[in-house]
Amino acid sequence: MSQSFDEISAQLRKRHRQSARLKWMSLGALLLALAFLVVFFADMLGKGLPAFQQAQVQVEVDYSEQASQLPLAAVDEEVRDLVSRGWLRTLPMQMRDNPELLGTTRTEWVLADGQVDQYLKGHASRLRDDAKARVDRLVEEGRAELKFNTTFFSRGDSKMPELAGIMSAAMGTVMTMLVTLAVAFPIGVMTAVYLEEFAPDNRFTQMIEININNLAAIPSILFGLLGLAIFIQFFGMPRSSPLVGGMTLALMTLPIIIISTRTALRSVPDSIRHAAFGVGCSRWQVVRDHVLPLAMPGIMTGSIIGLAQAMGETAPLIIVGMVAFIPDVSATFTNAATVLPAQIFTWSGEPDRAFVEKTAGGILVLLSVLIFLNATAVVLRKKFERRW
């Protein structure tokens, strides 16, 4: 009580110092996080952007009888080792399917070999010196250049870096996510509606609630084991398929959707329910016509975030066989398919250095999709959110 003015002002100074220190420390933490992010993005962009370009060479393609047997004969000796072997080997089948090609000669831009591509991008390349000299000459004549890499977006995985693309993985991701959404969204929302609007508050429902919260924190690989045991081994669904992968990821997404839906339902004020009951609505009508529509933005946001998380997941998919070499674009939900993060994982293990840029390019694509999804969630929330 009997503190002097000096003592009090000393204390005050101390408290001010403390709060200033806290402010600087929090700012430091933020800056550090930002710095990590900037370094990560700069690294990814620096490594990944070259993946969107691809060397091409202009060659005379001679669709001769001989070339239909021995594809190497279709191009001049000068460029034979500079064009992609992956393109050359498709010639015989192309000629078989399009007989009118036979006997013609056309000038075409074709894919260059991966090593030529690396050389033109200034990376380490295993090309021999005489081949490098030939590439330099072609560049001077305007017959070899880096063009926008359409292959990267139109084809699936390949062992040849110049042919490797993300198409099959992207399609796999879309199909897997469709399954995940189709399974997790209705079940998740219904569960939440029951727990929030219908269920009595007793030991049993409390236990369910605790379990759901627990499930949200379980390591994702366990869901993979569950998926393997139930969907593949018990129900005999086809391994590696988007169906199994999607259902496995749905198990993982369910708790997130349930929890966010319950939060959204709870934020709808009781006065709305009471008013609806007051005019004689049944419980089902109250939920369907009033509570659910009002909670929808929150439910959508939670579902999109859950989906975005599932989209970046690889661990459970290793167990159900979706991390594999699958170059073909899957046509149905039961064919083998892979997903974007799995494709990135596969590429990161390739010995060929040209795959470093593919890996980073894949990461850039995945990041763009995730940023888009999360931004959609934010926009939805901002646009439709109501404060009571």
């Binding site: 080997r89 005999g236 594999a324």
Partner: protein, 338 residues
């Protein structure tokens, strides 16, 4: 709960119908991550040059592959498993128990394991014994087993440089690690048979000198370029691909290279195989076409494509015999594996 159950049951029923109706012209392959690059190269070629879809290849490790492969015969089980070692007798016995009685072995060639460092250093020739003394958990000193006291290479042998021992290698789940333990550690421990009571010893020290590098060999390579004191242990193809930043050590005086590995001179090399489930011949007709493409000179020969990505071709005679075995679908017997 009722709803979940219903949905699952319906989905399963639909899938069951689709699954049966689906003719399986897509070959399914599992197994070793070491064989995976070669196997997927052939698979891609197969998909691009025939009317069959590209076979699906999962990289599960040799042991994991054998387990899936031996689960039984039929739709859901793989047709082929890759292996970076010979199938174990116990694995084949389990196969036979589960009805997988008719298996053909295909030998495709060799793979070497490199002991390498950043090329910022001078080359450092080593012997297997020196690697053993650097890596083992317990080593004999003056005839007694003690915890590994060596922290510098020069303490092991005066001819080696005064440099801290740091070795980045594959984790225990890797087939490369199995091979390293068998071909380097166990082999070298026989030189100290007295100290270890005549038993092969392959425990790796855990005091930080050995670092588990993860399954991804690229991570080990990256680590070596940053930490120039460290040595790495990984597949030979990764050394070849990164020859502008890494140099390999000679082991027991032999340099790792295609010739020395194929001839068996280089001591740390292993054979690679794949195994075909002959009982799937009728359901999966593409299986043998894939296998035959794999065994062709165009792939595993001296001038084959797989050589370009790191396979070390076997001698011509051995290739011909292996090709013959696949063509005749020679049935593998447990007694072959002992």
């Amino acid at each position: 709960m009722n709803r979940i159950l219903k949905t699952t049951v319906i989905a399963a029923a639909v899938m069951g119908v689709v699954g049966v109706a689906q003719a399986r012209d897509q070959v399914r392959i599992v197994g070793s991550s070491t064989v995976y690059p070669f196997s997927s190269y052939v698979a891609e070629e197969f998909g691009a040059t025939t009317d069959y879809p590209t076979p699906v290849i999962e990289s599960t490790g040799s042991g994991g592959g054998a387990r899936l492969f031996c689960n039984g015969v039929g739709e859901g089980t793989p047709d082929i498993t890759n292996s970076s070692r010979r199938m174990k007798a116990s694995e084949l016995e389990r196969c036979i128990e589960n009805g997988v009685t008719d298996v053909t072995e295909a030998f495709i060639g060799y793979d070497g394991i490199a002991f390498a460092q950043s090329n910022a250093n001078d080359p450092m020739p080593v012997t297997r014994e020196q690697i053993f003394l650097a890596v083992a958990a317990m080593v004999p000193v003056d005839g007694e087993l003690v915890e590994n006291p060596y922290t510098n290479w020069s303490e092991i042998d005066e001819s080696l440089p005064d440099r801290q021992i740091v070795i980045v290698g594959p984790p225990t789940t890797s087939g490369t690690r199995d091979a390293f333990e068998e071909l380097v550690l166990e082999a070298a421990s026989e030189n100290f048979a007295e100290a270890y009571g005549g038993e092969a010893y392959s425990d790796v020290r855990t005091d930080g000198a050995w670092v588990d590098g993860g399954e991804n060999d690229n991570l080990i390579v990256q680590r070596l370029t940053q930490d120039t004191t460290a040595f790495g242990i990984f597949g030979f193809s990764f050394l070849e691909e990164n020859s502008d930043v890494l140099i390999g050590s000679t082991i027991d005086g032999v340099e790792a290279g295609p010739e020395t590995i194929a001839s068996g001179e280089y001591p740390v090399a292993r054979s690679m195989f794949f195994y075909i489930k002959n009982q799937h011949a009728d359901e999966v007709p593409a299986m043998y076409q894939y296998a035959e493409m794999f065994m062709s000179e165009q792939m595993i020969g001296d001038l084959g494509y797989l050589k370009g990505i790191g396979l070390i071709p076997a001698a011509e005679q051995a290739r011909a015999e292996a090709r013959e075995a696949v063509a005749n679908r020679v049935q593998l017997d447990v007694s072959d594996l002992h």
